[in-house]
């Protein structure tokens, strides 16, 4: 059964349409981690706030565990405190005047849960998240990683129908972040809590989410498993989030699901799911890893390179379009032949 269904939701701020899911619908399965990714200002936070009840959309329906919490058609708008949601905001927002214990117990106290049960539930979740030795401290006495765990504990202790996470690890140091990603996914998965995870970092989305929704300019453009998005990044916004290369060209020929795109100084053959006509503008999208230097028919000019520790990141130009190439060896600047081993085609105007 779907735990969360969002359909036709439209939210405007004045004349600006922040979120437009008119005619769109997505469902999140029970226990699934659904990552929402998009550039800043794309509408992903508006989506999260609409689900939470912090914003009231102009239109649409939101169903949580079989219960309609919002419906513009039926005039239903359940206030945030009645939706049974857990929330971990970007800043964690731990209440500074309460000790860790009181922070975690807050929601349970409001629900008038018996004191013994509160004690045991706070203890259980604190042990599971390895913060049971911090319960007597104030938030400012904790490290970043500890604060993040407390914020998560505060949400999980409620056993919510849905857990909302808004870039919860973006405030951590880079080193801690890698660890937190693995830990966060394992923790949420073991508790089987349906989660919506909002982020602008593609690495976070692919490593934490079971499925990913790509959102840009208020519109959901793609929904799919992480590997599906990597395999077929036929969307310019997705390509740029994945740090793929995008070059605009003209369709020279079409045969089946193969499209030949003319890039000015040579052409490449890309796979495509869409129908293209000859002469139409198209985008060739390809990974920096799928480029071989020193062979092939394309002419490129190497501009410079930097070493990342694992590979060389090489900056090159094809007919005035900049591209990135990952290569095991360093390459000196100047003209070089290159071959693109894998490429997908996308409509130029989306």
């Amino acid at each position: 059964m779907s735990s969360l269904i969002v359909s036709n939701v439209v939210k405007r701020f004045g004349s600006v349409v922040a979120l437009n899911l008119k005619g769109r619908r997505f469902e999140v399965e029970k226990g699934e981690i659904f990552a929402v990714i998009g550039p800043s200002g794309s509408g992903k936070t508006t989506l999260l706030r609409s689900i939470a009840g912090l914003e009231t959309p102009e239109e649409g329906e939101i169903v949580l565990d079989g219960r309609e919490v919002f419906s513009s058609y039926k005039g239903i708008n359940v206030p945030p405190e009645k939706r049974n949601i857990g929330y971990v905001p970007q800043t964690w927002a731990l209440w500074p005047h309460m000790k860790v214990w009181d922070n975690i117990a807050f929601g349970l106290k409001i629900r008038k849960i018996p004191r013994d049960e509160i004690r045991s539930r706070v203890k259980t979740v604190a042990e599971a998240l390895r913060i049971d030795h911090l319960l007597d401290r104030y938030p400012w006495q904790l490290s970043g990683g500890q604060q993040q765990r407390v914020a998560l504990a505060r949400a999980l202790v409620l056993e919510p129908s849905l857990l909302l996470l808004d870039e919860p690890i973006s405030n951590l140091d880079a080193a801690l972040r890698d660890e937190a990603r693995v830990w966060l996914r394992a923790t949420i998965k073991s508790l089987k809590i349906t989660s919506l995870y909002v982020t602008h970092d593609i690495r976070e989305a692919v490593s934490i989410g079971d499925r990913i929704a790509l959102i840009a300019d208020g519109v959901v453009r793609r929904v799919g498993r992480p590997d599906e998005l990597y395999e077929n990044p036929d969307d310019p916004v997705l390509a740029s989030l994945l740090r793929f290369n995008t070059i605009r060209g003209k369709v020279r020929s079409v045969s089946g699901n193969k499209v030949e795109i003319d890039l000015g100084l040579g052409s490449i053959i890309c796979s495509s799911k869409e129908e293209f006509r000859v002469g139409e503008e198209a985008l060739a999208i390809f990974s920096p890893r799928d480029i071989v230097i020193g062979e092939g028919a394309l002419e490129a000019r190497i501009i410079g390179s930097s070493y990342s520790g694992e590979y060389y990141e090489i900056l090159a130009e094809i007919n005035n379009n900049q591209i990135r190439i990952y290569s095991a060896n360093d390459v000196s600047p100047g003209p070089k032949r290159i071959r693109i081993s894998r490429c997908v085609a996308s409509k130029a105007s989306l």
């Binding site: 049974n84 929330y87 505060r154 409620l158 909302l164």
Partner: protein, 545 residues
Amino acid sequence: MISQALKTLSFFFGLIAFLILGLMIYQSFLGGPFFETPMLFTMENYINTLRDPGFYRALIGSLVIAALTLLAVPIALFISIAVHKISIPGRAIIEPLILVPMFIPPLVWGFAWLYAYGPTGILPRLWGDVYGLVPAGILSALVHVPNAYVIISTSLLGIDSSYEEVARIHGARAIMVMLRILIPMIRPAIVFSAIILLVLGFEQFGIPLLLYTTVGGEVLTTYIYRLHVLSITPSYPKEAVVASMLIYIAISLILFQRYLTMKYGKRFAVIGSRVKGIGRIDISRTWRVVLLILILVYLIFVVIIPLGSLVMRSLNPLYGGRISGITWDYYITIFSSEYHRRTIINTIGVAAIAATLGAITALGYSLAILRSKRVSVSRFFDAASTLPRSMPGIVIGLAFLWLFLFTPLRPLIYTPLGLAIAYVVAWSIMGTRVIASSMSQLSPELEEVARIHGASSSLALRRIVIPIIKRSVLIAWLVMFIYAIRDYSIATFLVMPQTMVIGAFLVMSYGAGEMSLISALSSVLVFMILAISALIFKLGWKPYG
């Protein structure tokens, strides 16, 4: 429930703020009193007023006072740089002394000034004649130095030391850093403080009343006061016209300032808003001592001698002249007289009601301004709290008098509650500033998490917001309390003998020769104000930052 009650109360006060402003302007366009005249608009009142030579005399008086009040800007600039940018010794003692005049009512400063430098003062005529237009304007400037000091210091403390350091390293001497880097960078604050001082100068009532009307002069505020007090049948249209003109002047000045902020705000925005350190400019020891002496001279002659004279006068057994022993007679008179005792109790009682209602309203205003999702709501409350600042106290008092006399709010006339309501409307901005500035540092996420995790909006307010900002609610209460006990101009119209407060008593008895009683009551007031302001500073209140 709490949040609903807060909304209702704030809306009530917000509405009254618009009502009194509207009433004043509405009346200025009516041929007769608003409560018995049909709605027929006329320009006649304005034409008559503009033909009245008495009005011009008052207007010129006000212009001169306002212009002379601007003298506070260079003084404040000088002190501000010396205190914050140059390490003069004893800053911890000097700064509170500079800020003291801010809380003491100008009328009391006027008395203190007379007792110090007046014809029968302790240092008689040290600065020449204390009566007249120019002396009144100069005292108005001295009284308002702290207001400019606060604005300029805020801006000065917002400048990262790296701007000065680069200039020093690139070869500029200390004086060049000040003239070419610091002062130009805080130019918007200097202009802003000048505009605020003009508004305050036009509003000034107590000082010209004491030092200028006594020699036959007139300014716009005293003109309204005397129109009302001295005429047998009050001329509502004429009073309203003069009051409205004061409002127009203040609103134009405030709009001009907003225009300047919009126009030049970007140009003066400091890149990288986080201040890493406040730099100190090194100057030679000699210069530092010279600066310190200059500031000490200012403090001694402007703050310490006048306040000391006020207290000494209240303890001096002889009327006027030299000090000849000490007597507690005047204080005994005050505390043994039923009337004066009640006046003091009324002052504290009204201030407590006003502070309580005011702190609650300020909380409601801050929530509406910062947390409302509807722009119209936050604009309404923003205007409701700032608009009354465009009305001199005397105009607010008059507007409330009319409101209470001729509308269904009649039961509130001359009551402590009625006066407290006027104070809340007039000064809610002071409390709102305190609460809003601490609330704006509070991430809305703190409440949002509580909401999502099951708390209603009232519960989130009670358990999350109020506990975190409770100190600033307390500070707001104390600030409103001080503004209520220091008032004299609003109360002048809204009290009767049973509900008399100290400020109104001082206005009404300044001409009656009760100088000894005045000095004793003023000293009681000053003592209360100093005690509470010390408490506010101790609670961590910062006038700027």
